[in-house]
Each structure stands twice: as C-alpha cells, then as structure tokens.
C-alpha cells in the first residue's frame, strides 16, 4: 500500500468538475491499480466444463497490454448476447430507453464521491452501455449517431466497460434516487454477463466461483479443514467461557440447517461472529446442523451471471433435502441475502424438498410468515425474536467499553429492507449505541466499496476512494461520540471495512453483530468472563497474565 496517497492528499485530489473533453473522447486509464487481475485460465476451464458456453476462451491476458486476446468474433458474441438479454430482462430493455439524464443519481455513487471521475456517475456508467444500445439497436441512434449519444461496439468500448463495470459494487444506492428507479446495479450485472461471454473477468470473482462449486465455499476450504477450523473455534470458546459448545457438521435429522458466508469461518474478525453463532445456538439448545458441502452463503455467482448464481444457490436446498432439514437459518451476509431474498425462490424454489416448512422458532414458537416461500430466515430476525421473548440472559455491561455504531450493509438494506432487526439486537447487547449521520444509513447507506467481488488489493486506492463516504460518516461519530466499534451484518464488510476504517477513521474496530451478542450472552454454567471472544481482557481484568499473547496473535 506504499504508493497510496495519504488520506488528506487523496481527499484534496477529488475534483467534481468534468474534464474538457466529452466523455466518449476521454481516454481510459489502464495503468496498474485501475483494474483487477483477470482469472486464472484453469478456473475458466473448470467453469466452462460445468456451464459450457458462458465464458469465452480461457487464456492468460493482461488488461495493461493492448492485446486482450479476444476471440475473433467477439463483437458478434457481445451484440448477440446484448440482444438476447434485452428480451430476457425487462429491466435492461426499459432502463436502456427511459433515462432522461437528469443527473439525480450522479452524486449518489460512492465511487464518484471519492474519485470525481465522471464515468463513475451512475448515469454515465449506464451510458457506457446505453450508447451501444442506441448505436446498435435503435433507428434514431443509427441515423443521428453522436447527437443522440450513440456509438457502435468497438474494442475500446469493451475495454472501457471492463474498467467501469468493475468499479461498481452493485450497491443500488443510485436506484433509490432515480425518478424511474433505474438500477445501475442491474446494468452492471448485464455488462458483466456480456463480458464473461468473451472471457473478460476477474480472478477475485472467478476463483471463488470455481471454489464454491467444488468445495462448497469460496476459499476452497476442504471439509476436513473446515472441521478443524470449527474445532479450533470451539476450543477458543472454551478458553473464554469455560464451556464446550456443540458444533454439528453434516449431521442428518436436525430441524434446521445453518448456512453462513465462509468468510465467517476463515477470516478475522468474521470468526468471532461465527463463534457467536455457535455459542448462541448451544445456549438455546437449537436442533441444527451446519454443512461443509453447503458451506458458503455468499453467492459469487451474482457477480458473474444468473446461471452461476442459480447453480451455487441450488446447493442450499439440495443440502437441506439430503440432511432432512425443515428450514434454513442464514448468517450475517450481504450478497447471500440479496440472492436469498430476490432470487432464491424464483430460481430454485422447485428444488425444495416436500418436508420443508415455513420457519418457526423452536424456542419461541414464532412462525415467520415473511419467509413462507424461501423457508429461510435471517439470523437477526431469529435473534431479535428471542430477545423480544426474553429467552436470552444478557449482560450488556460486558460491552460497556465499546461505543458502537452500525453499518447497514447495502444488500440487506436496499435489496431487502432489513433495517431495524440488527439495531434491535445490538441495542440489547450494547449500552452505547450511536447512529451515523442521516443520509448515510438505512436505505441511504454507503457501500464498503469492496462488494460484488471487488475486495481485492490490487485496486486498493479505488476502494479507499469509494470508501470515503462511509469512512467519513464513521469519522464523524468517532469524533462526536467516541465510537470505537462499527458493527455490520456482512462478511465482505467485515473484511473490507478494516482497511477503510484504518484509512479514514483510524482506531475503529469492525465487528459482527453476533460477536457482540455472544460477548454479552450469559451462558448457563459459564465461568467468569475475563476476556472477550478476541481473547482481549475486558476492562478491569487487564493486569492478569501481563506477558501472555493471545494464540491467534502470535505471528501477527
């Protein structure tokens, strides 16, 4: 990260005045740092063997070089794919026709706010596609050309797509403000589908996609390794609470299947959230199992094309059937919930087995009619219900040293409408809760700038720029209320918000909601809590064993 400017310098470099040249004549910067690395050929070959015809030729190529090694008939493929999708998606067809370029969306995108690059204005991002639509498919565009903002498909256009449609995190903030609900995230999805057809893709998406398909999770953790990690976490929980919790894996005959993003199993600080789930389920005696086969909730297919989205999603019902579970409980994850909420039942509802039922909390008896079709419940709904019925013994004072704010993850907020449940849960386990400023929370929340498969390090400066709006709102509550913890309900957030906070609001820690829950959870027969799940001493216990290093920090 050495060549990334300091926060102050970066801020000063933002200029909202567009360049003197028109957008079609302004060249795109292809220097390193502006693009993500393309997928490894073996990942492409693997996906081609699973879903043939969607991936273009597997090859080694470099976006920084002039020759992208496109197939010779790339243009026909893209134009034909475009035409097909206009029929398959009314969103695409309507949104191509009705934008009035009013600019209401222009300054709503975090990537524009942090970069000032006009092609990051959602309207112009969509124009990159719309101009081709007009030039290739409309009479007026063909005759009048540039006057109507039309152009034909050319290699430069495709290259521009690659840069800017991988600078959109599909967060949908722009759509909220558009008078016609034009959803640039949907345009981005279509553009990416088209680019995939000719083999333009990024490794940070394709490798997880391939991994999810084989091993069940995006990190490629094999089942025995998965079990090892979970066992470690059970050990750590014992260290902190003195209790050995159950962590059932691949077991048949339980009522509930629990699926969470694998980021929670592998990455710090997601693991603390995962430990939180285990402790909560053990405490209430939940009849559940997890699965190593369906061990990824996050759906990387939604960043590629709807075929992969469906293929990866289908695992959830397949595993519920194999294990005989009645319904599925889902962990804290952003994209997973967008897919579960908006796509799952439509795509894979017919693969549900007959024994599945509308989720009903075995602890409180609440029946969740809101998920009658998908049979899938969000964990904050589940926990909020427990809290409402006073089923948990909680000691929020254990979190008193934390001053907490909540980051609404884009997908649950704008792709679903899940806003209050997580707040309700946090407020039950933390005494110091503060909202970030209006205009940056709830449906107006700002993206972590690493969603939709962009949380890769080679574009760190772009991510930090995109992270400005979120980071600045965080800085505000940090100064005003001494906030030192930002909670969230998304595994990608838990990974991407860390560098973002370090850069824009140093000193703020990122935590999952169920990490906070577990720290406050008073478990039956537990030993006195001196440490939190991160094995940091709680205030008042700091002096004990001064020279001891937490095991997970040893090589840090």
């Amino acid at each position: 990260m050495s060549d990334i400017p300091k926060a102050d310098e970066l801020f000063k470099s933002i200029d909202y005045n567009p360049p003197a040249t028109g957008w079609m004549d302004t060249p795109v910067d292809f220097s390193p740092g502006h693009w993500c690395y393309p997928a490894k050929p073996e990942k492409m070959e693997y996906m081609e063997s699973k879903l043939p015809g969607l991936w273009g030729p597997a090859r080694q190529w470099n976006p920084g070089e002039a020759d992208w090694k496109l197939p010779p008939n790339w243009k026909e493929i893209v134009v034909k794919g475009f035409r097909e999708r206009l029929k398959k998606f009314r969103t695409l067809q309507v949104f191509m026709d009705i934008c009035v370029r009013c600019g209401a969306c222009a300054d709503k995108c975090h990537f524009f706010i942090g970069s000032g690059d006009p092609k990051n204005m959602p309207v112009l991002r969509a124009e990159l596609m719309r101009s081709v639509y007009r030039g290739e498919f409309t009479v007026a565009g063909k005759i009048l050309g540039k006057l109507t903002g039309s152009r034909v498909m050319e290699e430069d256009v495709l290259k521009e797509w690659f840069i800017y449609f991988y600078q959109c995190t599909q967060c949908r903030r722009c759509s909220l403000y558009c008078p016609y609900g034009i959803d640039t995230a949907e345009m981005t999805m279509m553009a990416r589908e088209l680019m995939h057809l000719v083999g333009l893709n990024i490794n940070w998406i394709m490798e997880p996609v391939a991994n999810c398909n084989v091993t069940g999770n995006h990190l490629g953790i094999q089942p025995h390794a998965f079990k090892d990690i979970v066992d470690f976490m059970v050990d750590d929980i014992e260290e902190v609470t003195g209790k050995r919790v159950k962590a059932p894996l691949n077991e048949k005959g339980h009522e509930i299947l629990f699926i969470t993003p694998s980021g929670d199993v592998f990455a710090d600080p997601g693991i603390y959230t995962f430990m939180g789930y285990l402790m909560l389920f053990d405490e209430i005696g939940l009849d559940y199992t997890m699965s190593t086969y369906a061990s990824e909730g996050g759906n990387f297919g939604s960043f590629t094309n709807n075929e992969v989205m469906k293929k990866l999603n289908a695992k959830m019902y397949a595993e519920a059937e194999r294990l005989g579970c009645k319904w599925i409980l889902g962990g804290e994850c952003g994209h997973m919930w967008r897919v579960v909420h908006q796509y799952m039942d439509t795509m894979t509802g017919d693969t549900q087995h007959a024994g599945m039922t509308t989720p009903r909390s075995p602890i409180t008896g609440t029946v969740f009619e809101t998920s009658a079709a998908t049979k899938m419940l969000h964990i904050t709904e589940f926990t909020a219900d427990l809290m409402k019925h006073n089923k948990l013994k909680l000691d929020p004072s254990r979190n008193d040293h934390l001053r907490v704010t909540f980051h609404d993850s884009c997908n649950p907020a704008r792709g679903m409408g899940l806003l209050e449940e997580p707040r309700y849960v946090i407020k039950h386990v933390c005494n110091n809760y503060f909202e970030m400023p209006d205009g940056t929370t709830r449906e107006q929340t700002f993206c972590c700038a690493g969603g939709s498969g962009l949380n890769t390090d080679e574009i760190m400066e772009i991510r930090l720029r995109g992270g400005l709006p979120r980071g600045n709102a965080l800085r505000y509550v940090q100064e005003k209320h001494g906030v030192n913890t930002m909670a969230c309900i998304c595994a990608i957030d838990r990974a991407t918000l860390i560098p973002l906070a370090d850069y824009w609001a140093p000193g703020v820690t990122i935590a999952g909601v169920h990490e906070l829950v577990a720290n406050a959870l008073v478990m039956e027969g537990e030993s006195e809590r001196k440490m939190n799940l991160r094995q940091e001493y709680l205030p008042g216990y700091e002096d004990e064993e001064d020279d001891w290093t937490p095991p997970n920090m040893e090589d840090a």
């Binding site: 600019g103 909420h341 449906e443 600045n472």
Partner: protein
Amino acid sequence: MNALYSLLFVFLLVLIPLFGVDAAHMRTFFGVCIPATAFIIFIVGFVYKVITWARSAVPFRIPTTGGQFRSFDPKLFPQNKLDCPQTGAQTFFRMVLEVFAFRSLFRNTAVSLHQGKDHPIVAYKSSKWLWLFAIVFHYSFFIIALRHLRLFLEPVPFFVNGLEFVDGLLQIGAPTMYLTDVGLVAGILLLMGRRLINPRINYISYVSDFFPLFLILSIALSGIYMRYYAKVDVIAIKELAMGLVTFNYVVPETIGVSFFIHVFLVSCLMAYFPFSKLMHFPGVFLSPTRNMPNDTRAKHHVNPWNDPNIKAHPYADYEKQFGVPMAEAGLPLDNPENGKAPEEKA
C-alpha cells in the same frame, strides 16, 4: 455546443411552416396532412415501444427498497409501506406518489466536500430544485394539454372549463393570462439553465436532451404569441380541430400563419416522442424496480426462462472427491465406501 445545435434545429423547424404556408400556400398540407401523420406516428410508435417493453420478461422481482420491509413482528418493526410495499395496494400507492408527486426526486441530495479543521468532511444536503423545476414543468404541460381539449370536444367538458377558470384566476391582462403558460416557460428555462450551468449535468447532456426542451419552448412561445399578441381566430381553429377528429377536413382561410407554426412544432414533437427519451412517460409505469411488491421471500414467483438443467454440484461427487479426509476427520458419509483410501478398496 449541443444546446446550440438543438436551438438551430428548432429554428429550422420554425422556418418550414413559415415559408410553406405563406410562400407555398400549402395550408391543407400543414393544417391537416402533417398533424394527422404525426399523430399516427405517435400512436403507432408509442404502442410499439410499450409492447416491446411488455414482451421482455421480468424474471426476478427486484424492487428497490427504501425503508423497513414487512417483518415477522410488524408492531415491533413497523413496515415502511410506501417505500417497501408488500401488497398490490401498497405498490399502487407507491406508484401514484411517484407519478404524481415525483417522490424519488423529492429526496434528492447534493454532495459537497469541505476541509474541516483537522480532517475532511463530506456533506449531504437536501436538494429539491430539480424536483421543483420538474413539477412546475410537467404540471403546467399537463394542464395546458388538457385545456386544449376544448378545441377537440363539443360540448366542452366541465373539468376543462374548471381548469381554465382556476388557471386564469389571477385575471391579469386581456385575454386573461394563464398561470400554466408562465409555469411552462419558466419550468423549461429552469431545466435548461440547469443543464447549461451545472457542469456535471452539462457533461451528460446530448443534443437529444436539449432538443425536446427547445422544441417545447418554441411550442409554448408560439402558443403564447397566438393567444396574447396575434389573437388568432379561435372559432376557426376549433372548426379545423373538430374537422380533424371527425375526419371532415376544413381549413378556414381566417387562420393566421402563427397557428401553422404552432401546429407544425407540435407535430414534430408527436413524431419525435416515441423515438426519444420522452418515452420516460410510459416507461415509469413499467419500471420493474418500482412497480412490484417486495414479497419474494413470502410468495413464489415464476421466471419464464428458468433453466431446470442448471443443478448444484452433486453432493455424491463431493463425497467421492473428499471422502477419505472426511472419514479421517470423523465427518459422516452417505456412502462409507467413499471413506476408504484407494489401496483399502483394492
């Protein structure tokens, strides 16, 4: 530059009837043929486009949500029924407010950057100008269009008379000035000014964004000129208009050239409409992010082209691949054979 081109185009359009009627004496052509053709183009183009939209599938429900969805406990977590509708009725009201009150534009904000004392500040403030300009423009346009019905209908419907009365309430000048005439011109100038002055909006404006504004402006101005200055023969115009709707063409000699200019420009607008961004008018009703309820977890919805052949990677394959380490780790297996190392099997 794009604005200049547009201005020039509209100017040329004005010249056509000016010379056509006066010099070439093509009154029937401009009074009957052109408007009738334009009207046909408008209707056919409009319907064609809407059918194109309607024929493309809506595979997934993806309403934009602004606010809390319907929760398991609607009392504890009250649903935002308008921005996160879950029933047909709620969705209907969302659309009504969108179409009649431009609700999404109303929540518009503007971003600005500031250098605070020791760190940068990104600020968002409410920005309702666009909403205001758009409301003034669209409502004026709408009411003026309705007022014109008096030329095409006999007897004149009561609401048209009512509208005229309210519209002329200020009773300024003779003939009475209509508020909407002022509103329309002001609305266009404000929207156009915004496009010209705001550098970001200017950057995204094409000829096709300025052209309709200039065209409508010239329509408004020619109309105003006719009514307040040229004082054209309204009775004769009604005769012509009624002739058009009853397919009984007459072109009275008493109609002045300003009328032909007005009609020609309106015809241009009609013919241009289906091929332009003006189609946002029917489009807003078909926008899939706004016109569907947010109920996908509760109700089944069908994707017409769902591909049943796409299936999950089979668990059986997974177990075959990882069975040995799974067995060693003590994970249960469906088929114990998979847990045996190759040499054991042999």
